[in-house]
Each structure stands twice: as C-alpha cells, then as structure tokens.
Assembly symmetry: C3
Homo-oligomer: 478 residues x 3
C-alpha cells in the first residue's frame, strides 16, 4: 500500500520550486545590466549572460557539482559525483538547486565587466569559476566534512553561512572587483581623473530587474532553510537507535509516523499553525533590504538634492546580499542593524570604487563583496543561539548574546571563513585575469568599444527601429 | 529519530512560495503603471512604487502585522506582536504571506495617483494604510475573534472574504478613488469638460504587466486556501478531547492536532489522487478573468470599432478582483456569472469616472473598489454551502442554494462587511488626503508636471538615448 | 482520524505552484513574439495572445478538459467532466495544471502566424485546438485507458511522453507549420525567391522572453513528475489488500513507513535526504538546453562570422522542447546527446523553412514539431529502464539498454505515437486553415499589413512617444 508518506512533498520537492525561482535571478541580473548599459551594447550583454548560463550548466554537471558536494578529500574538495546523473535514491544535495547557486555566483561578475570585455573572456572566467573556484569555496563553507565547518565543533560551534554570503557573494563580488580593475574603465568613464556619469539607456529595466532579483532571492534564502532542515532530519535519523515503529497498535490509518520525534521535528510536525523557519528568513531579508534601501536613498538625497532611483535599487540589493549569510540566524532587530550597515557599505564602497578609478557599471563588487563579507562577519556578534541550534544543531551564538567564549570562537570562525574564501578567490581570479590581459584577449579594441559591440560583433543594433541619440561614445560631450 | 513529519512540507512552507509569487504582483503593478504613464514620468513611477515596498515592509513589521493579527482587543484591532520576530514555535499567521497582502493593498493606490502627485504624499499614504487602515480592515475581515467574523455564528454563518475582496480591494480601491478625486486630474486630461485621451507610452509594458499580475494572483488566491486549511486543522486540534499524544507522553508541545480531525482532513490526506481545493480556486479565478476580459472586449469593440488591448487587460484584471473574495466558495458556473458582472462593473465604472471628471490613469478604483465590493456581496447569493463548509467549517451558503434564512443572514453579513470596511476606509482616506491637500503637499506644481517629474526631481529622463516625441504636455495639441 | 497527512502538502498542491509557473510561459511566448515582431504590429501580437489565454480557459473548462481526461470512450476520447467544477473529492487530473498544458500547445502556433494573420483567424484556431485537437491528442498520449498507452502492456511496455513531446509540441508545432504555409509569407520576406532578413524590433525582449520560457518550463517538466508519482501511488493504493497499519516491528530505518510500498514509494518517503525524481528532470532539461544552445551558436558562428544571439536563444528552446518528452526517463549522458540532436534539428529545420519559402518568424515549427517528434522517438533508443519503472511502473527501456525485444517494441510504440498524433493534427489543421483561407478570412489585406496592424485595427501605435524608423514595410529597401 502506498500510505500518506508516499504521497506528500518532501524538502527535495520544495527545493525544485525554490530552484526555479532562484533561476529567475538570471532574468534580474540581465535586466539590470541591460538597463545600466548603453544601447549599443545590449545584444552583447544579453548574449554574454545567456552563454554564461549554458556553460555553467555543463560545467556544474561535469565537474563543479562533484568538487563542491562529493565525498571530501581532506576537507578541501569533493571527489565524487562527476558527470552527475540524477539516479534513484541519490542522497546528496539536489543538483538543480545547487546549480542555481553556482550560476548566481558566476553571474555577479558579469555586470562588473560590461561594455568593454571581449566576448571570449567572460566564458573563460565562467569556466574557472563554475569548475573550480566556486565549488571549492562552497565545499569549504557548506560540506559537513570540510576543514572549515569542522573547526570549533569541540566547542559546539561552527562556521555559519546561511545561504552564501561567502561562497556566493564574496566569491562572485571579489572576482568582479579584480576583473573590473584589470579590464580597466570604459572609455570616457574617467576624464582627467574625474568620474563622468554614464547613465544607462533604460532605467525601467534597472528598477524592474531589481524587483526580479528580489523575487529570485526569496528562492535563494527561503529555500536554503530546507537544506538545513533536511540535513538535521537526516543526521538525526542516522544516529537514531530507536526502532521506527513507535506507533502503538491503537493507531489507525493514516499512520502517525511521528511517534518519537525530536523536538525540532515535532515543531515542524504541527506546522499547520506554526510558522516555518523560512518565514523568519523571508521577514529578515525583507527588512534588511527595506531598511538599507530607504536609508541610502535618504542619505543620498540629502547630499545631492535629487532623489535617485538607482541608489535606492542598489542599496536594496546590498541589503539582500547582507541578509544572505545571516537571515536564518538573526532576530528582526538584528536585521534592521544589518540593513543600516548595508547602506553604509554600499555608499562607501561605491565612493571608493570611484576614487580608485575602478569602473564597475553596476557597483556589483561593492554590493556583493562588501556586504557579503560584512554580513558573514556580523554573525559573530548577532547570531541568536536558539536560531542557530534550530537549523544547525550547534548551539553557538554571537557575542551580543552574552557567552563571551563561544561568541569569540564564532567571531573567529566567521573571520577565518571570510578571509580564507577571499584569499582563495583573490589569488585565483588575479591569476586568470592577468593571463587574459597578458594574452591581449581581455578587452575589445577601441574602435569596437566606441562603435558598440552590437554593431561590430553581433550583426546590428538591438533596437533597429528606434531612432537613437547616442551619447558617451568617447571623449566628446554629447 | 526523524519521523516522516519532520521531513515533509507543511502549509507554512507552501505559503512562503505563494508569498514570493504574490510579491511578483509588484512587478505587475509597476509595469502596468509605467506602461500607462508618459515617458517623462517613468522614473518617478518606478521610485514611488519601490519606496512603497520598502516602507510597507518596515511598517508591517513594526505595527501593521500586530494590529491585523495580534490578540484581538474587543474584536476591533490586534494588540500583540509588534516588531514581530520570526521566532520558534510561532503559531500566528505567516508574517511574510500577510505582508504581501498589505503590500498589494497599498500598491493599488499607486496607479490612481500617477503622474502628478508629489513624491512625499504617496509614502504618507503608504504609512497610514500599512500601519492602520489595512490592518484594522484585515482584522475585521479575517481575525477569528473579530466583531465581524463572530456575527452570525449562532446561525452557523459567518462573513466570507476568501482572499481579500474587502480587506484588500475595497480598501485599496477606495483610497485610490478618494485620492484621485482630491489630487485632481492631470493637466490636459479634461478639456472643456470633455476627456482627452492620454495614451501610455508603452503598451507592451501594460499587457505584459497584466500577465505578471495574473501570475502573482495565483499566489494570492490559491495560497489563501492553505490559510483556511491550516486554521481548520488547528481549530479541530484545539477542540479535540483526545490527548495529543498518540506519541508517547514524553513528547511536549506542539500537540498533534491531528487526532480528531474532520472528514475534510481525511480527504486531503489521500490527495495524491484527489484535487486540492486550490485547484478549484485556480479554475474559478481563471474563468472569471477570462469571461470578463472577453465580454468587455466584445462589447467595447462593437461600440467603438477598434479592438482595444487595454480594455481587454483591464477587464481581465477586473475579473481577477471579482474572483478574489469568492473563488474558493463558488462553483464554476457562478464564476462565469462573476465574470460577466465584472465586465459590466469595469465598463460602467470607467464611464462614471470620466463623467465625474476623476482622472484615474489605470481605472484602478473602478476595478478594485467596484469589483471587490460586488464580488463580496454576490457571495450572499452564490456561495455554495458545501464549499464554505469545506474551508471554514461553517455551513452557510448563498440564497441561490435554497435556504432562505441562512442565505439572508449571509447576504446581510456580506453587505455589513463591505459597508463597514468602506466606511472605515472612506473616512480615514478622506481625512488624510484633505490634510495633505490643505498643506499644499499633495500635488507637484504645474511647471514640474508639464516638464515631467523625471527631469525636475530625478536627475533626467528614463530613456536618455531614445529620441522621443512628447505629447500631451498640457493644453496644446501634439 | 486525520493524522499529520491532513496537514501536509500533497502532489496536487505542488501542481498548483508548478501550474502557476507554467502559466508564466505565456509571458515568455509573448515577449519572444513581440521582440521578433516589428513595432507596427506590437499591439496586435499582445492582444492576439491575450485573447488566446482567455478563450482557451473557457474552452478547456467547458469541453477540452473532458475530452482529454474524462472516462475514455474506446480509448479515443474522454466523455465526462464537461463544464468542470472543482468539487470536493475530485480524483481526476488537476484542471489548472492540465489547462496550462493546453494553453502552451495553442500558444506555440501564435508565433508562426505573426504579423499578417487576421485577428479573427487565430481565435478560430484556438477554439479548434483547445476544444478538440489537443484534448484528443492528450487523451491518446496520457490517459491510462487510451488505445495508445494500452498497447504493449502485455510486454510490460507502454508509449512514453514525459511532459508533452507529442501531445504538446508535435501538436502545436505542426499546426503552426501548416498555418505558416497556408497564410503565406509576410510581404517582403522573400524577394525573387531569396529570403530577406526581417530583424525584430527589440532583441532584448527576445532574450529575456527566452529566459522567461526557461523558467516556465521548469514548471512544465518538473511538475509533470508529480503526475506520475501521484498515479503510481494511487494505483498501488487501489490494488493494495494490505491493512494500512504497516508499521510493524520488522521495519528498519530510515523507516520505510510505507511497508508494502513499491520501491518507488520507499525512495520518495525518505526524501528528506534523497533527491526527488524531479531533480533528475531539472538536470536533464538544463543540460539538453545548454548543450543545444552552445552547439548551435558555435556552428552558426563558424559559418557566418557573427555571433547571433537569436540563434542561441532558439537553439536553447529547441533543447528544452527535445527534453520535454524524455527528461524523466533518460540519463544525463543521454541528455547531452539529446542536446546535440536538438541543435542539428533546429539549424536544419530553419534552413528547410527558408528553402520551402515558409515564413515562420520565430522558427517555432522547426523547434516544436522537429524536436518534439525526435525527442519522443529517441526514447526508443535511450530510455533507461530503471527510470521508466520508477515513474510508470512499466519496465521497458530503449534499445541502447540491451533488451532488443522490449527496445524494439518501445521504439515501435514511440513511432506509432508520433505518427498518429502528427496525422491527426496535420489533417485537422489542414482542413481548418483551408476553410479559413477559402473564406478569405485568414489574412489581412496588403494595405493593413504594410501600414501595420496597430494603426489599422488597434487605434494607434504601441509606443506613441518614441520616434521610430520603420523598415521592411514592403518591397522597398530601407
């Protein structure tokens, strides 16, 4: 007989739906980048990002997934599951859901390189990132046998990265930063040392892309909850010595399989009227984004006098990044603090990029690298022990919660995680961009850049029927 | 041991996914409004709606959620749960899902005020609506201890509002109507008493925005089904006299509400091969929208000779609004009737707005206020008792089903609900718009309106590379 | 007693969410078609596709659903469930999820007819397809008592069409092919026998529409998994003679709480840490799309020298179509093969269309008919027996897996399925387009086509504020 259990959705099923929503992030990224770009490069941006998706899928299938999630070799890298097949009774992480994370990581870089990078460079970077850079970082951050997650377990602590503050955002943001620096600014972006505005050609696409991203982010963060719940359930099942059949004979159908549940399970079990932990996740990420977006908008309006839509959108995204490593582990008050910090990091980071004359058209590196690392670090102060225990089984919390010893250990672990992933990412990306630059394949030539990549490489403009008034085509004023 | 229950998704998990889809309504609203707007105001519209999301989140977290869902003070307003934290074992309504409802309510107003309202006014309205107006209306319509839902229980009846006909659409639509009337028409919209067409600058954005809204609406209506199922299950658990512990006594709370469930629950249990009630919801809302869209298109084509895409889109949305209070409680034949009525209300309402010289650029007030209230009222005629019982436990149905006494009571309750929410909304919104108008902060000045809000307040046009042919910039012909 | 099962989501609930995502395909189709169209026909395209949705809903409710899913009359057509009502304890297929499949089938045709078909023709085709053509094909392909699925059962074999290779894509693609041929090419598309490029007016809409479609396709394919799981569970429940209370002491952990379940059920049951079969589905469709997109892009770049975004998008879609009939039944290696074949079929098919001077603006017929039929056929070679058994209970696999007898039978069944659905579709669509053409109602007149349908029939242009540079308005060069 097929009983109720055979008929109900499990976490793996939810992860498919959340994965589809995470996939939607790609629509957001490309809308944002197209909107910020100039009309002469629209096709190039669209194609670059599409190729990225396709390539990333093949690479994650063949090797990336195995390096990230396979049996750990010494805690540093996975070694099984190459050319993954979605067999029967596969008990590792969902391929699809984990792929959408890799894909997001790689796509972060895309914006930083927009409008002047050669068509062959970005796929090369995708290849490296999806095959090796991100998988190793993800292995460190999330594999239960990695060197990083194993540290501190004697003290009941472990490194925390809820949904990818380090493995996704530090990784993607830092590659983007290195790339933007080594590719160099777009022609005309800095003149005599002073930045010149290069407004995107379609602000509507920017703002709607931001909302697309927010939608996709719910899949990213809320879905991650089920990874934790599934792991906890699996490990408690594995260590259980109780016989399964606790239902006493008086029970009639459908069998109440809950008999000996852990208190965690029990709370889930009654979730008809209990909120899922993913509701907390959704609340915290929403709050962080909202506080960050409003705070930055207010600050920038006071300073400049105009009310800038793009600042609001970018700050909102900074808040979402900031929430990513933390949103399952913190209270809503901490989420407000996170939001304020995100606004500060975004505004400060964007200024720093200008001062350093690094041209990052979407400010992605400030947003993702800055907020991803700070969000991970702040857990050392603000992680609430009860929430950490609910999702990971370890009872460690931030310094704010009073246990100085455990808090100190956690803070140290968080710092170690960020620093090691940043070092890994920085070195590798520096090497690959350096090689690309030395080989002369990193950037398109001046003529192509001025004429627009669409006309030179993609057979014509993206909007052939619209009468355009180009601008910013170089050193001349419009 | 990890039992089955620990491993399966519960209603709360489904609500997260549905909530993300409801969030997508925001993309629909803003696409629609941008499309109907003129190109000179695109940034303003986008920013207005983005700020709205951010502000609404903070307000709903701090007070709105508590007023709507907290412990009821005399049936009029909630009083607990301020600064909500997504704790452990929280047994109230999902924060996230309920937030997306508040957000939708507030955003309805946005379209009515487009293209001439001062940037500060709309956030002020958002503040009022998210903090007080909508929460109180939602408390009345949905809280199990509210004065409204308590009425008629002696007769086995209760006020019905499936997913927000009153609490969302009457509320949002009426605020919009009052706002549009008090802000006054855009310059040039009415000349010598005759309306002048002001076509939007991007019809593609209108039609695709309509489809976005339809998609989001599935989250709205179908997701609401699980609120009812969850409440029913919870209340049957609470009133159960069986000990919760089929599980052994060592298990602490939460109680296994399942002991004494109704036959309804049993039917769900076998739902591998049974359709979920949410399938009925999806069917009914789809039918209502389709009938309404086609009927209005046909009528308007016969009258005007052109086949107007915007009429079709608006009527479709009117159908979705009309279905919202009812789609779980009616048969598919009733859904067809609902669709025909929706088309009539939309077409009639839009004409009335013109006659009254109220400039509502998207006809939102006719669509949301008109169809929201009529859809709620018609339940007094067409609610099918078996469906009402399946979802609410009360056995009351519409007059059409023959029980004149119960039907009469239901019809009275529905009218009472609509009238009281409309009165509440009307008074409050009249007050706030009056104050804003008296203070001179409601509307931008003529120069700004004619030049476009983007140029005057937001640092330049939304599409700087496109060569535009502006029109409707005031009293001169194009 | 209602146990935990009453509170948890079942397959039917998942299908609602997947159905909403499938609905999103409509956004993708219309974005793609708008992007490929010229600006003078944008409103017409949007309206045509919107009417299509509305009409299809009413028709599927009234008759289509019944013909497809009702009690089978001799295995050829369903005969119950007209004017479907989403009652209580309905045990047939979800109405909503099945509707989105019908809707997708019909919308495939839309692109093939774009920019020159009369507004009345496409609804007529919708009517035929939704009421009769697709329902019958779906009945043959999927109903458990159809003549087609019954064949081969003595040998443990059955016709396989995972999520609509024949019932959706062969059906839609072939109607489109016939339609495009009989409507004739757009004015200026072929001059003196040579095709002339007619670039779309918004490539951004094309590429983003493609990503929308990919997103929607996850609902299409992954959701279909639950149809199979639900059917299997239902049929095993129906035939079970065991008492429900299976937890006997012999059960070991992870507790197979379904004691007497099929091995399939057991694997699902423990799915907290097991991957759902839908993860395999997502992997395979992703791989197929990615391989196809990259292969075609590479090939076409080598041949033409430009890197064409539209080729990449179309080939990606061809991969998705190709995966549709197969993605639950094949290994990931087979998915790679599928991708390569899809690229070849798309590129070859597009060339054939040009040679035959059939004007299919989106190459939809090549993509959907070509890849839909080939994907179904190839299962005869590449279906993996274990996967087929997991989802359908029948143990038949492709020739590649060594059992020549069963493989041969399967291959024959697949060919029979494709040929019979193609014959059914071809004859019917030929008849209807012939009648429409003879009646002179198939195509707009020359003046309307040259001036643009928006100006002539829909009250003005879609982008009234943009300064346009029309092209391809007939036989003159731009």
């Amino acid at each position: 007989m097929a009983d109720g259990n055979g008929l109900v959705a499990a976490y793996s099923d939810l992860l498919i739906l959340h994965g589809a929503i995470v996939f939607f992030l790609q629509v957001g990224f490309v809308s944002l980048e197209v909107g910020y770009g100039r009309s002469k490069n629209v096709k190039n941006i669209l194609l670059k990002n599409t190729i990225n998706i396709l390539l990333c899928a093949i690479v994650w299938w063949s090797v990336g997934y195995a390096f990230a999630n396979g049996n750990s070799a010494g805690g540093f890298v996975g070694t099984s599951g190459f050319f993954h097949d979605g067999g029967i009774n596969v008990s590792t992480r969902n391929w699809f859901y984990s792929w959408t994370f890799c894909l997001s990581t790689v796509t972060i870089v895309s914006g930083c390189l927009a409008e002047r990078t050669a068509l062959v460079s970005y796929p090369a970077v995708t290849l490296l990132m999806a095959a090796w850079l991100h998988p190793v970082a993800a292995h460190w951050a999330w594999h239960r046998n990695s060197w990083l997650t194993g540290l501190g377990s004697g003290e009941g602590c472990r490194f925390l990265d809820f949904a990818g503050g380090t493995a996704v955002h530090v990784c993607g943001g830092l590659v983007g930063l290195v790339g933007a620096a080594l590719v160099g600014p777009r022609i005309g972006r800095f003149e005599e040392g002073r930045p010149k505005d290069m407004p995107g050609h379609d602000v509507s696409s920017v703002a709607i892309g931001t909302l697309f991203l927010w939608f996709g982010w719910f899949g990213f963060n809320c879905g991650s909850t089920y990874i934790y719940q599934g792991s906890l359930a699996a490990s408690s099942a594995a260590t259980s010595s109780l016989p399964p059949s606790l239902e006493d004979a008086t029970l009639s159908l459908p069998p109440s399989y809950d008999s000996s549940a852990s208190s965690y399970s029990a709370s889930t079990a009654s979730s008809a009227y209990l909120s899922s932990p993913s509701d907390r996740v959704a609340l915290n990420m929403t709050l962080t984004a909202s506080v960050s977006g409003l705070a930055a908008l207010l600050l920038s309006s006071l300073r400049s006098g105009t009310v800038d839509l793009c600042v609001c959108c970018n700050a909102l995204l900074a808040g979402l990044v900031m929430a990513t490593p933390a949103c399952g582990f913190i209270t809503s008050w901490a989420a407000v603090v996170y939001g304020l910090v995100a606004a500060a990091i975004y505004l400060g980071g964007a200024r720093l990029l200008l001062r350093w004359q690094i041209d990052d058209p979407l400010d992605s590196s400030a947003i993702h690298f800055g907020c991803g690392s700070m969000g991970t670090l702040l857990l050392g102060l603000l992680a609430r022990p009860a929430y950490v225990a609910q999702l990971t089984g370890s009872s460690c919390g931030g310094l704010f919660y009073g246990d100085g010893r455990k808090g100190g250990i956690l803070l140290g672990l968080q710092a170690l995680g960020v620093v090691s992933v940043a070092a890994w990412t920085g070195c590798l990306s520096l090497a690959v961009f350096w090689v690309l630059r030395r080989s002369g394949r990193l950037r398109v030539d001046q003529v192509t850049e001025l004429a627009g990549l669409d006309n030179m490489e993609h057979g014509g403009p993206a909007y052939p029927e619209f009468n355009m008034v180009p601008y910013n085509t170089g050193s001349t004023e419009r």
